[in-house]
């Protein structure tokens, strides 16, 4: 179990991570979701020991990690740019750690070759050992990087946007393979990504990093359907956030008065979150019974294949998105520039107290 408590990292005046707490359980695939510049890479570099925190503790299975030299931490790291050794062949790349590591180096050339071959087989690169690293494709490089790390049997593997440099098709395929490989090895993976779909697909658990802290860490379904705070909701890219002030038992938002699911003090700031796919659209005078609604102007639509996104503007200019599924369309024909009623089941709306930041 990897345990980070109170970890803080500053660069001069800028705070990258502040009082961050995170637990990565054993034998888990955890993905870490954060916008670019949120400090995801910094977090991994602190765990790997390439940088040291200004405050806080990092421990693995109760053993203190911070302050230890990176090569004594026994933590695997897969880089976004693969970072293969350009002067070595694929086989030599994989053997490298086993051969030259400070403790537990493997001196027997036969065992070395065998273990490297096993690792290459694990990632599906049988018979590629003799190639130079310049002679293989991006996806293959990623596998070599993975094999090179896994062969040394690290206690936990950190993956820094490992699929970022691959094209979309390959990315999907690698997602499945990464999960399968991890399940066979029973070692924890901590996978950093900026893509919410990748995070949700890959992670048994997804942690959301925002403003230098972990704002929520939960199972992917739980996280997606019940984000605990606006920051988590925003990162999922599936929730509309409307902010306002509580007044007379409702929330006074830019889109009008919306009912509150629980009573708030008069004048308290709060946000209502509405999921893209739980909003319905109808003409202003035809709102289905039992549903709350507000008015917004249709701006434009975006066709994404199996889903279609429609963009609306609330009176104050806030952007509202609605997802429609092509196989099961719910939306009527929409005309650009016209106002419609956006309606939802009151139970689907989430209420977050406090003003937005």
């Amino acid at each position: 179990m990897l345990n980070l408590s109170g970890v803080t990292r500053r660069y001069g005046e800028t705070v990258a991570l502040e009082d961050l707490n995170l637990i990565v359980p054993d034998d888990t695939y955890m993905s870490l979701l954060g916008a670019s510049g949120a400090g995801k890479t910094t977090l991994l570099r602190l765990i790997a020991g390439f940088e040291e925190p200004n405050a806080g503790q990092i421990s693995l299975n109760g053993e203190r990690l911070d302050g230890k030299a990176p090569h004594r931490r026994d933590i695997g790291f897969v880089f976004q740019n693969f970072a293969l050794f350009p002067h070595l062949t694929v086989q030599e790349n994989v053997e490298f750690g086993l051969k030259y590591r400070e403790t537990g180096a493997c001196a027997d050339p036969k065992e070395l070759t065998e273990r490297a071959a096993d690792a290459l087989q694990l990632v599906g690169l049988d018979g590629f050992g003799h190639r130079g690293v310049g002679e293989i494709s991006g996806g293959q490089k990623q596998r070599v990087a993975l094999a090179r790390t896994l062969v040394t049997e690290p206690r936990i593997v950190l993956l820094d946007e490992p699929l970022g440099a691959l094209d979309a098709n390959l990315r999907n395929r690698m997602c499945d393979e990464l999960r399968a490989i991890r399940e066979r090895l029973r070692v924890s993976f901590l996978h950093v990504t900026g893509s919410e779909t990748e995070a949700l697909t890959m992670g048994d658990t997804v942690a959301v990093l925002s403003d230098g802290r972990i704002v929520q860490a939960d199972g992917s379904t739980e996280l997606f359907t019940r984000p605990h705070n606006p920051a988590a909701a925003r990162h999922l890219n599936a929730w509309n956030l409307l902010e306002g002030t509580a007044w007379a038992g409702a929330l006074d938002t830019s889109a009008g008065m919306l009912p509150l699911s629980r009573p708030l003090a008069e004048g308290a700031a709060a946000q209502i979150a509405l999921r893209f796919d739980q909003l319905g659209v109808s003409d202003l005078d035809a709102v289905p019974g039992g549903r709350s609604h507000f008015t917004a102007r249709y701006v434009t639509g975006e066709f994404n294949g199996p889903t279609a996104l429609s963009f609306f503007r609330a009176p104050d200019g806030a952007l509202i998105q609605v997802v429609d599924h092509l196989g099961d369309p719910r939306l009527p024909e929409l005309t650009e520039g016209r106002s419609y009623a956006l309606h939802y089941a009151p139970g689907d709306a989430l209420l977050f107290e406090g003003a937005s930041t």
């Binding site: 490298f96 590591r101 400070e102 996806g139 293959q140 040394t152 094209d167």
Partner: protein
């Protein structure tokens, strides 16, 4: 300008430039095949390799004494070699240090660079005065050697700085994360990758030291290096044996360049064949 004329124009210009650049060398090479009775100027009276034989003492007694370059050549080579080793090691080490910003890195940088900026004659003179003052006798392996290092080290340093500038640090971090110690990481990862740069730094140091003149002039002591002993022969009279010697050293330099080129090719071409073909959906 008409683009049809641009290319031939540039070609002619380049040709002239090269001719100008190598003209002196060509003249030297032609005159080195002067006959035994010819002088160091045109016309060439008869074609012969007399002066080459003269150089190695293979001719009968001659009115011209043999060029006194044997020992000084050896001395120059040893000095250049020593300088190369020390400057390159220093250059690599300090460039490695400059990969991270440290306190006083700015002044340190300019102090190093100063070694190649200051006028050689002045440094040489200063060194001579200093060695007199503190009572150290001047010698090619002492005072001159130190100045050669001071002069060539900035070049090696700058070459390595450029190399490290393009160096991808993540490969070193990858090695560390595999449990390999920093020392082994330098030996197994960093050094092999920067080796072409090290070769270039060595070439710079060697050639600069090998024909260094002004700094050496005041600091050499009694035993001379090659450029100085050649300069010494000017005060008597110039014979074509000097040209023959010039041709031979040029050939030697070319050999050195070829070796450098071959090593460079070997260490950069290795395993860096590029991936050709479609991204396989493997």
């Amino acid at each position: 300008m008409n683009t049809n004329l641009l290319k031939p124009g540039l070609a002619a210009y380049t040709g002239l430039f090269l001719l100008f650049l190598y003209g002196p060398l060509i003249v030297l090479a032609i005159l080195s095949f002067q006959g035994p009775n010819g002088g160091p100027q045109f016309p060439v009276q008869e074609w012969s390799t007399y002066w080459y034989q003269h150089l190695f003492g293979a001719t009968d007694t001659s009115r011209v004494s043999q060029l006194p370059v044997g020992e000084s050549l050896l001395r120059s080579l040893v000095l250049a070699f020593m300088t190369t080793v020390v400057s390159t090691v220093l250059g690599v080490m300090s460039a490695e240090a400059f990969r991270v910003r440290f306190k006083g890195s700015g002044p340190a940088f300019y102090l190093i660079i100063l070694g190649m900026m200051v006028p050689g004659v002045l440094v040489g003179l200063g060194m001579a005065l200093l060695s007199n003052f503190i009572g150290v006798s001047r010698a090619w392996w002492g005072t001159a050697f130190v100045l050669h290092v001071v002069y060539t080290y900035p070049f090696a340093f700058l070459v390595m700085l450029a190399i490290f500038n393009r160096f991808d640090r993540t490969v070193e971090e990858a090695s560390l994360s595999l449990g390999v110690s920093p020392a082994q990481t330098f030996r197994r990862v960093t050094f092999p990758i920067i080796f072409p740069g090290v070769l270039s730094a060595m070439l710079f140091s060697f050639t600069l030291s090998y024909d260094e003149f002004s700094r050496t002039l005041f600091t050499i002591g009694r035993e001379l290096t090659l450029p100085l002993s050649i300069y010494g022969t000017f005060s008597v009279e110039i014979y074509p044996n000097l040209f023959a010697f010039g041709v031979l050293t040029t050939v030697f330099s070319f050999t050195l360049l070829v070796v450098y080129g071959l090593l460079m090719k070997r260490f950069t071409a290795v395993k860096s064949g590029s991936y050709k073909g479609q991204e396989e959906a493997a």
